[in-house]
């Protein structure tokens, strides 16, 4: 497994690792995170995963030599997946009425109903959380649904929007600007502000490694209480 550590400014390094597919990338990344949690270098303040990258940020003056980190992490990345980690499955009810659904159908050459079928047929894995608080990048999207992001991102995407962009599907936990194609909406709340006040990790409904299934529904249970916007 090849791994490369480059400086990213004076106080951070970007670890890049090669992976055979997204499951392998996820496993490698989790192995690195687990290693760093068990053997934290002095001054490490943030470890942020990307798809095939891991950003390590340090207190000023504490960033180790990239060569040294590279040698240690190359070993760590070979570690096996955590045998105790049992993925949870979370079901997400979706009304498939997103405003880009027709455009997605046109782009893929498939009928809308087939696009929905393909999207709901897969069990996805939360690859990373990122972009905005609690936004899950879900891997496993059917190749036929790989469509580019919008040329011009929308300035406001409603919270609860289910969207696809490139190789991934995701759910907007909050109302924000965004460039993915909107295909549906859910009332599943992904971010709990009360828990955020108490610094609790369960503020986030979905965590990396969780499995997600989208369940098509006609109506969301609680029409009167849309997700916060």
């Amino acid at each position: 497994m090849s791994l490369r550590v480059d400086p990213f400014g004076p106080n951070a390094v970007l670890v890049r690792f090669a992976a055979r597919g997204e499951l392998d990338a996820f496993t490698r990344c989790q192995a690195l995170l687990r290693y760093l949690e068990q053997h934290p270098p002095v001054g490490l303040i943030e470890s942020t995963p990307g798809m095939t990258t891991l950003l390590l940020e340090f207190e000023p003056g504490h960033c180790p030599q990239p060569e040294f980190l590279g040698a240690i992490l190359a070993d760590a990345a070979r570690l096996d997946p955590d045998p105790l980690a049992q993925p949870r499955t979370v079901e997400v009810p979706v009304v498939y009425d997103g405003q880009d659904l027709d455009a997605v159908a046109a782009r893929t050459g498939l009928p809308v109903s087939r696009c929905v079928e393909l999207h709901a047929a897969v069990t996805y894995r939360v690859q990373i959380l990122g972009f905005c608080p609690g936004f899950p990048y879900l891997s496993g999207l059917d190749r036929r649904l790989h469509v580019p992001r919008l040329d011009t991102p929308r300035t406001r995407v409603p919270a609860g929007s289910v969207a696809i962009g490139g190789e991934h599907t995701g759910i907007y936990p909050v109302s924000t600007a965004g460039g993915w194609n909107l295909i549906g909406r859910t009332d599943l709340r992904l971010l709990d502000p009360e828990a955020a006040l108490a610094d609790r990790r369960d503020a986030f409904t979905l965590h990396p490694g969780d499995l997600v299934r989208f369940v098509p529904v006609r109506h969301l249970r609680d029409q009167s209480a849309p997700p916060p916007s």
Binding site: E46, G50, P66, C132, P133
Partner: protein, 298 residues
Amino acid sequence: MNDPVLELISPGLGASLQDHGRRGWKRFGVPPGGALDDHAACWANLLVGNPLHTPVLELLLHGAVLRVLRPLTVSITGAALIPDAEGLWRTFDLEEDDEVAVPPPESGVWTYLAVRGGFLASRWFGSVSVFPRGGLGSALTARSLLHQAPHAPPHSPPHIGRRWVDPTEQRNYAHPPALRVWPGPQWDLFPEAARDRFFSQPWRISSRSDRTGYRLDGNPLSVSSVPLPSEPVLPGSIQLPPDGVPIVTQRDGPTVGGYPKIGVVDPADLSWLVQCRPGQEIRFIPATCPPLPATRPS
């Protein structure tokens, strides 16, 4: 909570409480937050004898008006110079019912106001920095009341109300130095001509700039159109979307992104950049390169 010390009569163009930001939540997609100009924010705290990263009030440009609810010592640093401050960053003793109105700064964008002990406010994932879109707190508005944290008796001189900062530490935001830039993860993907152009041309701060990112106007750079797998982003990262117009990520910006990053502004120089106004010109210079390349075990 104890009695409030200040009432925000008007937030002006924008007001929020900020500290050093949160740590350890970026992997959940939560941006760090925190004072954009940490140089000025730290001096505001030092003036009133606080630890450097105590919560302060961050004010955007002009228009904020505060009413004092009980006798209080405050410090003011950053863009706005208060009329009777003799042009210095300093502290003021204020009496009940005094009003502090933030005048239009001659240069700079952000003004910081600190009270002894700091402001007391809810902490979202460990920071007072709010993220209203996600329901993590709400922005300060007219009539917002500000509370002071309890603090120990001062160890500082009796005339803390007239303290000042060495003028050489005060910045003239109209004349920022050339800002140091380290190579970003996609440095090698940019053609040499684009990299040269990035450093040789002056850039102007775009009016489409805020706490999430500062856009730069200038001659767009040519960018490879191959989308990248999403990658973590640092404050100061210089991202290039397909239109070739750079965006310098700030402390409320997205935690990951798929645009190539030509470089990252040195953290010490980011506090200069954020104080530059729309239309103001800035230049970049290469920071001294750390040793390359990194380890490549097989």
